[in-house]
């Protein structure tokens, strides 16, 4: 479903600030794979997400989605196939527009936008139906402005908007990191449910090692722009945080330099 071949990306090339963000990364996801990515700050996780979604174009290498080479496809074209939830709960929704208008925009993701009404009666019924799956009562607030919702509610809505058109790839970029623990748990559970329901091919970046172990069928660990560890389906079930930290020390010869990852 998703294929990354020899992706290489350098920031500020030719200046003293030159930094290799992604160092010849290969990754392949089968349909229905749910891969969690962990790694310390600056490991290249977010850059990888941006390369897949088309915000950044790799210097070398190719991105294939569903068999098509999309390496040079522009972001807005590529996002027909990619659902994305950002870390910032404010980033995934338009605050001055209503819940139903936001959903209508997400609904048009894989279609051509026309001069037809965005929110029709039929669509409204459908939106109500999908909102009910969140169990947040948002189905009764269809015409409320999204700016009035709490961070958790907005992130739940973003998650729904990213997924209910069943994209080929779902990218989750630390989408629970900015929420308080109980809200983060809610979003985590919703993520699990939605990915299961639509059988979405998913790539999730997280700082939370426990979350990375609990969710998904595969796990990769990144450091300094490289994938240093890949855990497949069979071995993932035996994973523990201690195991992961030990593994990191064995490969890199140093302690994992990320207090946040250890504490959480």
């Amino acid at each position: 479903m998703l294929q990354l071949n020899q992706i290489h990306k350098i920031f500020n090339e030719g200046t003293p600030d030159e930094k290799i963000a992604i160092d010849h990364v290969n990754l392949s996801l089968k349909p229905g794979d749910f891969v969690t990515i962990i790694g310390s700050n600056g490991a290249g996780k977010s850059t990888l997400m941006n390369i897949i979604s088309g915000v950044l174009i790799p210097d070398i290498g190719e991105v294939h989605i569903g068999g098509n080479n999309v390496t040079n496809t522009l972001e807005f074209n590529r996002s027909k196939m990619i659902g994305r939830v950002f870390q910032d709960p404010m980033a995934g929704t338009a605050p001055s527009m209503t819940i139903e208008e936001n959903l209508a925009m997400a609904y048009s993701r894989n279609k051509t936008r026309t001069l037809r009404r965005g929110v029709t009666k039929k669509r409204r019924d459908y939106f109500r139906e999908v909102l009910e799956t969140l169990h947040l009562g948002l189905e009764n607030r269809l015409s409320a402005k999204v700016g009035l919702l709490s961070g958790g509610e907005r992130q739940a809505l973003s998650l729904l908007m990213a997924t209910f058109t069943e994209p080929s790839i779902l990218l989750l970029d630390e989408h629970t990191a900015a929420l308080d623990p109980s809200r983060a748990e809610l979003i985590t559970n919703l993520t699990k449910g939605i990915v299961d329901k639509y059988k979405l091919t998913t790539l999730m970046v997280t700082h939370n090692m426990q979350q990375a172990i609990d969710l998904g069928n595969r796990l990769i660990m990144m450091d300094k722009g490289q994938i240093i560890l890949e855990v497949d389906e069979e071995n993932k079930q035996q994973l523990t945080i201690e195991g992961l930290l030990e593994e990191f020390k064995r490969i890199r010869g140093v302690q994992m330099a990320n207090d946040r990852a250890i504490l959480t």
Binding site: R78, I82, T93, M97, A106, S108, R113, R117
Partner: protein, 354 residues
């Protein structure tokens, strides 16, 4: 004494009538500014140029004998093109939004002079859209009907020449308002709104934000040029300097309207913008009745209106907040004072027990 009062009332009525007539035409321009400034979050100074472009094109065409309605439509398309160019400068040229508008405005000044061939074209003795319409109204007898109504309330000495322009423009402006409301609810319209609200998000929902910005600015300036064309026909002349400060007038209308009539829904806001435009004209015409102010002071008055409209809501908000905090503080103090002696008693009681 009574006669002088009557005279004053009559001239007041003429001023109010004029304000409504001009306000409802300028409202179309204000709706254009609303599209760029509020919906796209793009302070678009092209407006100062495209307003004149609309006026220039229709003035040239009308004096060449072209049908005035056709000339007005051509002006609309010219404005659309100007707006699209600003959009191109900003999106593909990656020029800052204010600067791309200013560049376009300056470029249009020369283009407008080229279109007109001279700095002023008079339309006084030619057939404009409005002379056609007032002629039509005269024939139907509507003018005399409205005027007889006015005479009945004692304003018989200040009868407007025609009601046609006002009524026709109310219909046209509201038609444009409803079309704008409908457009902003369509799939493309929603995407344009989201481009102004959260560009990153709508791009991640597969919308080409560059095209949407270009389209939005095109539509905005189409309305502005349309309004410019109608103003030229109403005033009977097109002048190359008539667009100076137009963006500020548009902003004033949007801000005044929003402050007075609210922004709960899109339909409400567009209505507010029309209202704001009329009120702006009323305020200006009232201000110009003050003796020491001259017509040349109008731009200064406009600037002051916008400054007041922008700063006072914030100041009112701040003083309300201050009062609220002071009240809360006072409430807390009384609670503490009320509970303080009680606490003291408890303390004493415990002491005596031990």
């Amino acid at each position: 004494m009574a006669k002088r009062l009557n005279e004053r009332m009559i001239s007041m009525f003429t001023a109010i009538f004029g304000s409504f007539e001009a306000g409802i035409i300028y409202a179309i321009m204000a709706l254009g500014v609303y599209l760029s400034f509020r919906i796209l979050d793009f302070p678009d100074l092209t407006v100062d140029g495209s307003f004149v472009t609309g006026a220039a094109i229709s003035a040239v065409m009308i004096s060449a004998g072209v049908n005035p309605f056709l000339a007005t439509i051509v002006a609309l398309f010219a404005g659309f093109a100007a707006g699209c160019l600003t959009g191109l400068l900003h999106t593909f040229g990656k020029i800052n939004n204010l600067l791309s508008g200013i560049l376009m405005m300056i470029a249009l000044y020369s283009i407008n002079l080229r279109i007109m061939g001279r700095s002023n074209i008079s339309l006084l003795n030619t057939d404009s859209a409005f002379t056609k319409i007032s002629g039509f109204f005269e024939r139907t007898g509507m003018d005399s009907f409205f005027n007889s109504l006015l005479s009945m309330v004692g304003l018989g000495d200040s009868l407007p020449e025609t009601w046609g322009i006002l009524i026709f423009m109310i219909v046209v402006t509201f038609l444009i308002k409803f079309l704008t409301d409908l457009f902003l609810q369509t799939e493309i319209g929603l995407a344009i709104r989201a481009t102004g609200d959260n560009r990153r998000m709508i791009r991640s929902l597969s919308a080409n934000t560059n095209l949407l910005v270009i389209l939005g600015l095109g539509l905005s300036n189409a309305l502005v040029a349309f309004s410019g064309s109608l103003i030229a026909q109403q005033a009977g002349s097109a002048d190359v300097g008539m667009g100076i400060g137009m963006i500020i007038i548009g902003l004033a209308s949007v801000i005044i309207g929003e402050a007075l009539f609210g922004t709960k829904t899109i339909a409400r806001t567009t209505l507010a913008v029309i209202g704001g435009s009329i009120i702006y004209r009323l305020v200006v015409s009232m201000a110009l009745r003050i003796d020491f102010l001259e017509p040349g002071d109008m731009k200064l008055i406009t600037a002051i209106i916008v400054i007041v409209a922008l700063t006072t809501p914030k100041m009112i908000e701040r003083s309300k907040e201050k009062k609220r905090k002071a009240r809360r503080k006072a409430e807390k103090l009384t609670i503490i004072q009320a509970s303080a002696p009680a606490k003291g008693d408890n303390h004493a009681a415990i002491k005596s027990d031990s």
